[in-house]
Amino acid sequence: MKYKNRILIDRVAQHTFKLTGYLVLALLGGIFGMLLYNAISFFLEVKPLDFLTGREWNPTAATPTYGILPLIVSTTIVAFGAMVIAIPLGIGTAAYISEYASPKVKNILKPLIEMLAAIPSVVIGFLGIVLVGPKIAELTDLPNGLNALNGSLLLAIMALPTIITISEDAIHAIPKTYREGSYALGANKWETLIKITIPAAAPGIIAAVMLGLGRAIGETMTVLMATGNAALFPQDFFDSVKTITATIAIEMGEVPYQTTHYFALFAIAIVLFFMTLIANLVGEYFINRFRKYHAA
């Protein structure tokens, strides 16, 4: 090939690659812009304060109400419950894999956790209906088990692989010398783990929890299928709840194009966007902090 053509191809390729980089930037901007544009259309019709403080979400009533509070509370309850289950289990498992398990056991456990991560959310949701729901109903004498507790349990399972993997990386990254120092002072394995290793790995573990939380907040199918979707203000874990994601999933399919209700779904989506964004940014902050102290 002629030198001139080769240089030309080189230039064209370089600009193509560069363009894709910028397009990614445009993608995030586009997503945010799309949410914002539609959300603004909504706020031209409904006061932001009413939206944020309204205790009722009923867009299809004769006089529609667009209060996001019950949706936020639902999302929060389910995600909070998931974290209560997943944090101790996740950190415990990560500590076990990193500190106690033999290489052989490690080689079995790690693929198992990847397998758990690979299960599609709709399958987990299905199990909420056929397995977890009936069990909860049986144990609590409720008519059905489709409630916040069910959703929390399933979301915990979905967040666990994230929490375990990142926590394990963090615990694993703590230098051996820390541990040896602790042993030298007469501490046993457990004391070393609790007092030295886990505190040293804390920023990494917090990051793991925040990323797991982000995943739990943004998950749709599982909560859509398992939490019952009652549009009431939830009181406790045995109430049926309707999260932001489930609301969008249910109502977007039925709502006419460019009505107030349509725009309202973008308004709650932008709230969801910020909730997951904050969780992820906090997670990233701690990951960076962890890397700074324990750069390989």
Binding site: M1, Y3, R6, I7
Partner: protein
């Protein structure tokens, strides 16, 4: 022009760090020139400037000139790939392409529109005394070869393009003594046809292979001359200390 490679007031900065200061040197044609000096003295940087490898470093700034056959290789509009074809390079660690032995040689030939026939490939491999060892395995991945064989393959890859100059950046630092010896013998053979510039940390090696030696310190050329003179009668105290192994 008697010299086919020389520099004139060559200065290189990495960011704000002035790593090469006013380098003015000549490399005698069809001879081996060794660049020696303590780590960080700029010898590798100088070597890599001869085939514009610093083009990859985003904050590198280069002033002055490097000339081959009277042509400044940093001149605007010059073909960089052509420069690199004329000035081959062998690296510190053998870096064969993750392709077959045959393709390792053929790749550069094809890029430069040269004949990549089996005969040409055979000739290149013969020149580095690798042909007998690999002639039945030409289709096998080059990564299966031993370290020394890989390095000779990399030399064959450079030789195949018939360059004017071959640059070698500590080509034996990752090899065992026997492989090192083979490469040094090879360098002796190659200097009949090519101008060779070799960076080395090994004083014995410099004495064994080089006709001319250049001692560098802190980004400057401190002393240059015939290898025999540099090692037997160094003019500077610092050169003497270095070649006697007092620092480095």
């Amino acid at each position: 022009m008697t010299n086919n490679l020389y520099t004139k007031d060559l200065n290189i900065w990495f960011g704000s760090k002035h790593v090469l200061k006013g380098i003015d040197i000549e490399f005698p044609e069809k001879k081996v020139t060794a660049l020696i000096g303590p780590s960080g003295c700029g010898k590798s940087t100088l070597l890599r400037s001869f085939n514009r490898m610093h083009d990859l470093v985003p904050d590198a700034r280069i002033e002055g000139m490097v000339s081959i056959d009277g042509q400044n290789i940093y001149q605007k509009g010059i073909s960089v790939t052509d420069i690199r074809k004329r000035i081959g390079m062998v690296f510190q660690k053998a870096n064969p392409f993750p392709k077959s032995i045959q393709e390792n040689i053929a790749y550069g030939l094809k890029l430069n529109n040269l004949d990549a026939s089996p005969a040409v490939i055979q000739k290149a491999l013969e020149e580095v005394y690798l042909w007998d060892e690999v002639k039945d395995d030409l289709k096998k991945p080059a990564t299966r070869l031993s370290g020394g064989q890989q390095q000779r393959l990399c030399i064959a890859r450079a030789v195949a393009l018939r360059p004017d100059v071959i640059l070698m950046d500590e080509p034996c630092s990752a090899l065992d003594p026997i492989s090192t010896l083979k490469i040094e013998e090879l360098i002796h053979q190659l200097k009949d046809q090519y101008t060779i510039v070799i960076v080395t940390h090994n004083m014995q090696q410099a004495q064994r292979v080089a006709d001319k030696t250049i001692f560098m310190y802190l980004g400057e050329v401190k002393e240059e001359g015939a290898t025999i003179d540099i090692f037997n009668n160094p003019q500077h105290e610092i050169t003497k200390n270095y070649i006697n192994g007092h620092f480095g």
